[in-house]
């Protein structure tokens, strides 16, 4: 009953506005209770369309549940709860309300039964997430948030154009499966892919997210990219292009993360890498692959948030982000190191962690379809995940060298949030049936077979060997690696500056030419019409009479000769 009347996304947005006004215990109570209430609401809701109506002459269905949207909505609600718990001691008064508006809008996008509602939520998400980055309060964060907003508004424009074209052509706002047969559908796909962090615009993610506060990035890692995965699952399953886009993202994430020095940028590149696995699964498009992509989004939200909570705790305690400044923190932050380690094992899909039971379905689907190169690439990428996130992050932050830093563990609420998600990472790896029961298809997949566990352990542990053998090549330096954002952060401003210089020079030379010309005209006029000039001076009466007589004589000659 309640689930037909109450919209989970709207409730979270309203809670967000309430959080802006509340303080102290009331604020904490609302921040923690609202996501839990919404979780209960989502689990109780029956499948089907709960809200429908017309708006601007368009059929809309702002609230609709099915297996896929429920799966994503459940993990979004869990994420809101743990994120709020982690962020309770955040000093910024803006960040938590903004995160709630952002998360609520993301829930709205999941539960949208039509393209119009989806678009409205999509844009609200961009605004909410920009405010989350903004609320970090630093000048680099402000600049990054403006670049972030520009890219997302571009994605929004592409999506809007696509939706408008689709509605004009079909007369239907329903959001179902879309084939890549019209420009409108290509535009919709492009809009979705911008938010997924797909090439060529992947750089917005590692550019903007790490500028958020220690708690802000935990929220950011969860919603935008996973909403994009969800809409791709719904709109474009089995689109072969997505296999190659996904594989590109997978290796892009690994290679850039290997070169990165900022611990949270390592994890940001790793988001692109993980979303790449999901996009590849969506491209493969079998029931096994789609289940794998959906399950991987579920587990990914939890272990990536855990990794970012661990990194956020380090940032909170030390105010440092660079691997070159960190190291040896396990001495005084053992719990943060342990939780970060569990997140690292889960992202690497070690057996007995959540990543193992989700990601292996995507590889299994590639094998079942006999996609040899895709399967080989996914196996290499599995090893590569352990390399760039599984070992690199914990090693450089918590071990490596002794940086001399002796920070304390973070406050209780942050520790509890990390423990909750660490428990979920291991719990879902062992008791995976409840997760499998939520998946859209029943495939009867069994993750734990002897050969699967052994081959996975080989891949991962020998990847670990490669890391330590080649450690000198991975030594951290104070560098960044250029990305596509160079074009709009460096080349475009340079071009604008060059153009404005050229225009100014042109204007000046025009002005000079103009001045010169005017001077000559003025001089000539002055020479002819000036006070003493030929046409202006006063003539004597005799001279005038002489000239008039001459003129008349000439006239007579012309007439009579």
């Amino acid at each position: 009953m309640a689930s037909a009347l109450l919209h989970p996304g709207l409730l979270i947005v309203i809670a967000g506005f309430a959080l802006a006004l509340l303080r102290g215990r009331a604020r904490a109570a609302v921040a923690l209770a609202a996501p839990l209430a919404v979780l209960a609401l989502i689990l109780a809701a029956p499948a089907g369309i709960a809200w429908s109506g017309t708006w601007l002459g368009l059929e809309i269905r702002p609230l609709a549940y099915d297996a896929l949207s429920r799966l994503f909505a459940v993990v979004f609600a869990i994420m809101m709860f743990a994120g709020a718990l982690f962020a309770l001691n955040q000093q910024s008064r803006l960040e938590l309300p903004a995160a709630f508006v952002y998360g609520g809008a993301a829930l709205g996008a999941l539960l949208a039964g039509d393209l119009v509602t989806l678009f409205v939520c999509w844009e609200l998400m961009a605004v909410g997430s920009t405010l989350v980055i903004w609320s970090a309060g630093s000048s680099p964060a402000y600049r990054a948030s403006m670049r972030y907003l520009a890219i997302h508004l571009l994605g929004g424009v592409l999506l809007f154009a696509g939706i408008a074209g689709h509605v004009a052509a079909t007369g239907s706002t329903e959001f179902g499966r879309l084939a890549l047969d019209t420009p409108a559908h290509w535009l919709i796909l492009a809009g979705f892919l911008v938010n997924a962090g797909a090439p060529p615009l992947s750089a917005w993610l590692p550019d903007a997210y790490p500028e958020a506060s220690w708690s802000g990035m935990v929220f950011l890692s969860a919603f935008t990219t996973k909403t994009a995965v969800y809409v791709l699952l719904r709109g474009f399953p089995g689109t072969e292009l997505l296999v190659w886009v996904g594989l590109f993202m997978v290796f892009y994430g690994i290679v850039y993360a290997l070169l990165e020095n900022d611990m949270r940028r390592i994890l940001a590149y790793s988001i692109v890498n993980q979303v790449g696995f999901m996009v590849t699964g969506i491209g493969i498009g079998t029931e096994m692959a789609l289940n794998g992509a959906a399950a991987h989004a579920f587990t990914h939200i939890i272990y990536k948030a855990l990794l970012l909570m661990s990194a956020g705790s380090v940032l909170y305690a030390t105010q440092k982000r660079k691997c070159t400044d960190l190291g040896g923190l396990f001495r005084t932050m053992p719990l943060t190191a342990l939780c970060g380690g569990i997140g690292a094992l889960a992202i690497s899909s070690f057996p007995l962690t959540s990543g193992f039971v989700s990601k292996s379905m995507i590889s299994q689907a590639a094998g079942d379809e006999h996609l040899l190169w895709v399967w080989l690439a996914l196996a290499a990428a599995t090893a590569g995940v352990f390399l760039h996130a599984g070992i690199k992050f914990p090693w450089f932050v918590f071990f490596q060298k002794d940086s001399g830093l002796r920070p304390e563990e973070p406050p209780l609420n942050m520790r509890l949030a990390m423990l909750l998600f660490a428990a979920l990472c291991i719990g879902l790896g062992i008791f995976y049936e409840p997760l499998y029961a939520l998946l859209p298809f029943g495939t009867g997949y069994v993750p734990y077979t002897g050969s699967h566990v052994v081959v996975q352990l080989e891949l991962l542990l020998f990847s670990g060997l490669a890391f330590f053998v080649m450690l000198p090549m991975l030594r951290r330096t104070l560098t960044i690696t250029l990305d596509v954002d160079w074009f709009y952060r460096r080349l475009a401003p340079l071009l604008v500056r060059a153009c404005s210089l050229a225009l100014r020079a042109m204007g000046e030379s025009l002005g000079m030419a103009k001045d010169g010309g005017m001077r000559r005209i003025k001089a000539a006029t002055h020479a002819l019409h000036g006070p003493q000039a030929l046409f202006a001076r006063t003539w004597t009466t005799g001279g005038m009479a002489l000239w008039a007589a001459l003129l008349l004589a000439g006239y007579l000659l012309v007439v009579y000769v």
Partner: protein, 84 residues
Amino acid sequence: MSDHWLVRPATIRLLWRVFIGVLALTVVAEFLVAHHPHFRFEEIIGFGAWYGFLACAGMIVFAKGLAFFLKRPDSYYEKGESDG
């Protein structure tokens, strides 16, 4: 004051021995489990082991090659950008 036991050279030597032992165990364990490979070369002994190692080595070398062209000081974007 001696450093944490985990970073003493003796401990690190021990960890390396245990690690190499575990690596060997995973390859040995292949003989103890039933296989149902999708592809022929999965049947080569220690496929996960050598493939995992070589893939990672390849990615590291590729990353270093890319860095040769695209690496910049991390203050690269700081100059020239303002709040405007």
